[in-house]
Amino acid sequence: MERPLRLIQANPLDSLARAIEALLVVASQPLSVGALVEACGDEAERIETALGLLGERYREGRSGIVLEQVAGGWAFRASRDAAEACGRLFERPVERNLSQAALETLAVVAYLGPCSRPDIARWRGVAVDSVVAGLVERGLIAEAGRGDLGAVRYRVTPLFERVFGLESLAALPRLDDFGGDADELRGRLESLAERRPA
């Protein structure tokens, strides 16, 4: 705790550099000098000098964190030395399981799609916005036009069929008591939704 304090006094730019470090580690996109000026309440020239110091500190071969100037401004990235480890971190996840919410939503869309978010929410009895967004992002469901009321409807994708090992949707297992009749299923879900307590 003692040393860096003395260091600050020795270098007036040090606390500015530390503020910039902090901003860069929190940012979700590169930060321009203008944004740093606004955040630090300091002059552009001093910001640039501080960025120079940080570039020296966070550079390839010296640190695992590397400061890089890109189109939109400045950002931290992983050093090239760590590329292999980063590759494992980001590519590793062959995810075994989908969440319960994701599976249930997929079941509804697979058996009863195309259907809209309000349909799915009503039938499942919970809000589904973030689950649907997640499934779209993963490419398991996709938009399939709009319904009568103008709401975007969704269907499952070829990737879904691949992941679930299905030749086509017709190969989905039958439900007991429902001979593959989607209308009957839909009717049943609607009547359950009506009776569900608010």
Binding site: S28, R77, P93, A107, V108, R138, L140, V163, P173, L192
Partner: protein
Amino acid sequence: MTAGRRWPFHVAASDPETSVLLAMTVRELELDLDAFEGPFDLLLTLVLREELPLVGVDVAGIVLAFVERLAEREELDLDACGEFLVLVAALLELKARGLLAGEADLEDLEPGEAAEELARRLEEYRRIKGAAEWLAERLASERDRFFRLGPAPLAPRGERRLAEQDPAALAALLQALVAEPPEVSLAHLELRFPPVSRFLEQFRAVLGRRARFDFDHEVGGLTRVEQAVAFLALLELRRAGEIRLEQAAPFAPIRVSREVVDEEVSWNARSA
């Protein structure tokens, strides 16, 4: 007991010289609770219309507000205290039933056990409130802790891959979703209290036939909860200026009579 007993209190007037001693009823007692802010009688009305869940209402807070008001006074108004006690007792009973509602096995409990169960639940709720306070303080102390949400700007974009899934899981989940839910117990319905409107209509009908009636006579044979609701309906009618209430002495019968409307005053009120 005298319904609508005036409850005098001092108001901070803009000019202290002309500060007047205003009178108010217990029902106009101003409350500032977590769940509710406003006069006591509005709280009662909202509770009876089931627009405000009573379980969230801090009855101890109401008692404190009343006692604080009492402390501002020079002398003790026993009648006002009496009215207050009746109203708070009714609220507490309704609240107790609300807290105990929804569990079929509770009706089998002995009164002593039920009281214990209620105390246990109140204690649990108090702990959760304590935990929520702790979380709020924690949030305040962590306000200066910033971290990134979402991926870093220059993070590698790894492809999300999913292991092979079993389609039978989908069928099973959908099957569960279309299954009839288990029978819901209706036992708790017995614990519900009747709507205040039922008594409003009943009392208006009686006053349509007769100029006056005895409250005790009308509500004899009802349960205590029904009597409490009937009493609140009475207060509601008096507040609307439809009835006049008289009571010769504390605990004497409450006499309810039609309010004689002053035509001119009511015309002025409408045009104002």
